[in-house]
């Protein structure tokens, strides 16, 4: 190379060096994250891989580590996360779109923006305390799937809102102007052009939010999630059902001291009357039961089907996988820690499955976008 160009070529060399150095730094940084994840999963697999089996997934918890399973935990996690999604996604996405597309920029929207960004960083236990005071106590909603879903929905709302706003903001201004120039209304512009183009970004926010929600323990312990339960929020045909006939209030007992409730037997039903008398009904028979009667039967097909209706499982008690893991890691017997590791693997698998579905959806949505 000729002498006058030497200095320039030195500079180029320096730049090339930096260019390559950045690749290595970036690679190293990525490997730190990836390596940690691989090490964690490998550790979980080494500890708990041997415990993962069909019976582990379909057994109830037990005092014997070898018999214990995570059936109510993963079913509970799915019901809770479904409730969370149904509440948080519409509310979060609509708020995000409104704030970005419709709301006028003033001190109020600025304040809301700051508040939402800060809420995303509030520790989850605070949401648990809020939910304990608000949902469990003030609204008397008890320890139910609905309470858990609402609590986790509050927790991930900021994430969904922030992601939605980012995604909406990323839609080029030209698209809006073009639509408006052709006479589209604000609603048509938003619904037909902005929303579809923002959807993949929104999906990313929802994925991050849901992944956070499914791993939460602290707020749910705070609002009284169960740790042990040997039943599910929904019923299968043939599942035992037992209930007591009770007055709604002492006042009702005074108004109607001799009231009875008609028990129609769809399956064999046993009524234990308050005086100790036992009566067995065959299917099709009916009997009148007074307050204090104890009725035992099994779920019919229609009982089981009805238990899947949302308003029938939203008020059920629940437990979730992180709570089951938390309990097992704090037990004295080492075998329970293997169970906790196995439950951790199962939780990872469920999260991956849910995210996989969402990622596939995002991929489909992205393909449709052409600027």
């Amino acid at each position: 190379m000729a002498a006058p160009f030497l200095a320039a070529s030195e500079r180029v060399k320096g730049r090339n060096l930096r260019d390559r150095a950045f690749v290595y730094w970036g690679l190293a940084a990525t490997l730190v994250g990836l390596g940690t994840l691989v090490a964690l999963v490998a550790d979980l697999a080494a500890d708990g891989g041997g415990r993962l089996s069909w019976s582990f997934l379909t057994s109830f918890p037990s005092r014997f580590a070898a018999d214990a399973g995570i059936f109510p935990a993963w079913v509970g996690s799915l019901f809770v996360i479904l409730t969370t999604a149904v509440i948080a996604v519409p509310v979060g996405v609509l708020s995000g779109v409104y704030l970005e597309e419709y709301a006028r920029r003033n001190w109020l929207t600025n304040a809301i923006e700051i508040a939402v960004n800060n809420l995303a960083g509030v520790p989850s236990i605070i949401y648990g305390l809020l939910a304990l005071g608000l949902f469990v106590q003030a609204f008397a909603m008890g320890e139910t799937v609905l309470t858990a879903g609402l609590t986790l929905a509050l927790l991930i709302l900021p994430v969904v809102i922030v992601a939605t706003r980012e995604a909406v903001r990323a839609v080029p201004q030209d698209i809006r102007q073009a639509a408006l120039a052709l006479g589209a209304t604000k609603w048509q512009t938003t619904a037909h052009h902005v929303a579809p183009n923002a959807l993949p970004g929104v999906t990313t926010g929802v994925i991050i939010g849901m992944s956070r929600a499914i791993g939460e323990t602290a707020p749910l312990i705070c609002i009284g999630a169960a740790t042990f339960m040997a039943f599910l929020p929904v019923k299968a045909p043939g599942d035992p059902v037992r209930y007591t006939v009770e007055y709604v209030s002492p006042a009702a007992a005074q108004r109607n001291p001799d009231a009875t409730l008609t028990v129609r037997a769809t399956n064999e039903t046993t009524i234990q009357y308050p005086d100790g008398r036992l009566v067995t009904l065959t299917p099709g028979e009916r009997a009148e039961a007074p307050a204090g009667a104890d009725v035992s039967t099994t779920a019919s097909l229609s009982d089981a089907a009805a238990s899947w209706l949302p308003w029938n499982w939203l008020d059920q008690p629940y437990t979730v996988m992180p709570i089951q893991m938390f309990n097992w890691t704090s037990r004295p017997e080492a075998a329970f820690r293997e169970n906790a590791a196995a439950a951790g693997l199962a939780l990872l698998a469920i999260t991956l499955l849910l995210n996989g579905g969402a990622i596939w959806l995002r991929y489909r949505l992205r393909r449709r976008i052409r600027w």
């Binding site: 008890g142 169960a226 035992p240 002492p250 109607n256 009725v295």
Partner: protein, 343 residues
């Protein structure tokens, strides 16, 4: 078609509401047989074992949930009527008696097993026994920043820095240990590693030559090849914590009863009665399976009788009461602090 389906669903919903309304008209409802147990994480394994066996026996007809929000957290819920059964690793406190009374909640107090709080040290520690006086010198609030070496406690002990692991302040174990050792529940030095998870203490004691920690005997029994328990001398000679010394109350002052409290109103429900009966008749077998020491046979009979006849109140008067034998506790009159509920 779509609308037909929707209309059908709407009708079903309306019918459902109507059915509920019909039930309400004469004031009767179908109350599902759900029993909510919450409270101490120490009592949790025992309640879980009882709930597990009971659920199998009833094939799930009665639905029992067991939570572990801690003795104090559990009592807050119990005294608001949110749970039927409350596990406690110490007797009910005066403040909790007050809030239960204010809410009109009467309760039956049922000891269900014994636990021996075990003082543990590192395997390499040459010390084998500790007196209550020495424990107090280690854990007293005034020792904070002053007693930092084993030699500070007793000149004959080795020159090792003292590393302390203890129970979190929200736990019944902390309340009991501080009461037994320092004479006042909750009084403890604060420069130690507090944890709700006793496995953290196990790991800490294994890893530090100068470590000392305390927890329920179950954690010691599961880890006895890795850590060392100290015999405790309350003045009558050193006693090593074992199932026998805890059961006959010779391991003092760190033997403690574990309790469940049952809401008196809930005891009127057949399912709750069945559950409590199952609990008390099986606790003798279940307690050792989860690392606790069962009460004598006669005690379970007596307490089952108390539960079924609904005799409410506490035998402890709001105090932790260290060192009482179960026979003595059984013989005590019950403080009728909670009024009988209006029927």
């Amino acid at each position: 078609m779509r609308w037909a389906g929707l209309t059908g669903a709407a009708c079903a919903a309306i019918l459902g509401l109507l059915a509920a309304a019909c039930d309400l008209a004469n004031g009767l409802v179908r109350a599902p047989q759900t029993i909510r147990v919450d409270g101490s994480s120490t009592v949790f394994p025992l309640s879980e074992a009882a709930a597990e066996g009971f659920s199998i026996e009833n094939r799930g007809g009665v639905r029992v949930t067991v939570g572990e929000s801690g003795t104090g957290g559990g009592f807050r819920r119990f005294c608001r009527g949110e749970t039927e059964v409350q596990g406690a690793s110490r007797p009910i406190k005066q403040s909790e008696m007050d809030s239960c009374r204010d809410a009109g909640i009467a309760y039956v107090e049922l000891p269900v097993a014994f636990d021996g709080i075990t003082v543990v040290v590192n395997k390499d520690n040459p010390i084998d026994t500790v007196t209550v006086e020495q424990l107090r010198r280690i854990w007293a609030p005034g020792s904070e920043g002053r007693v930092d070496n084993w030699r500070d406690v007793d000149p004959a002990w080795p020159d090792m820095p003292l590393r302390l692991f203890g129970a979190g302040t929200a736990s019944g174990t902390f309340d009991f240990f501080t009461e037994a050792v320092n004479g006042e529940g909750g009084a403890s030095r604060t420069d130690y590693t507090p944890t709700e998870d006793d496995n953290v203490t196990v790991i800490g004691v294994i890893g530090n030559r100068g470590a000392m920690g305390y927890f329920g005997i179950a954690y010691y029994e599961q880890n006895q090849d890795r850590i060392k328990a100290l015999a405790v001398d309350a003045g009558g000679g050193a006693v090593f914590p074992t199932t026998e010394t805890v059961a006959d109350a010779s391991y003092q002052p760190l033997s403690r009863p574990l309790f469940v409290y049952v809401a008196a109103r809930a005891m009127q429900r057949p399912a709750v009665r069945d559950f409590i009966e199952y609990y008390l008749t099986h606790a003798e077998r279940l307690a050792p399976e989860v690392g606790y020491v069962p009460l004598p046979d006669a005690a379970y009979t007596e307490y089952l009788n108390r539960a079924l006849t609904g005799r409410t109140g506490t035998a402890f008067g709001g105090e932790a009461d260290i060192g009482a034998s179960i026979e003595e506790v059984m013989a005590r009159p019950l403080a009728e602090d909670a009024p009988d509920e209006a029927e």
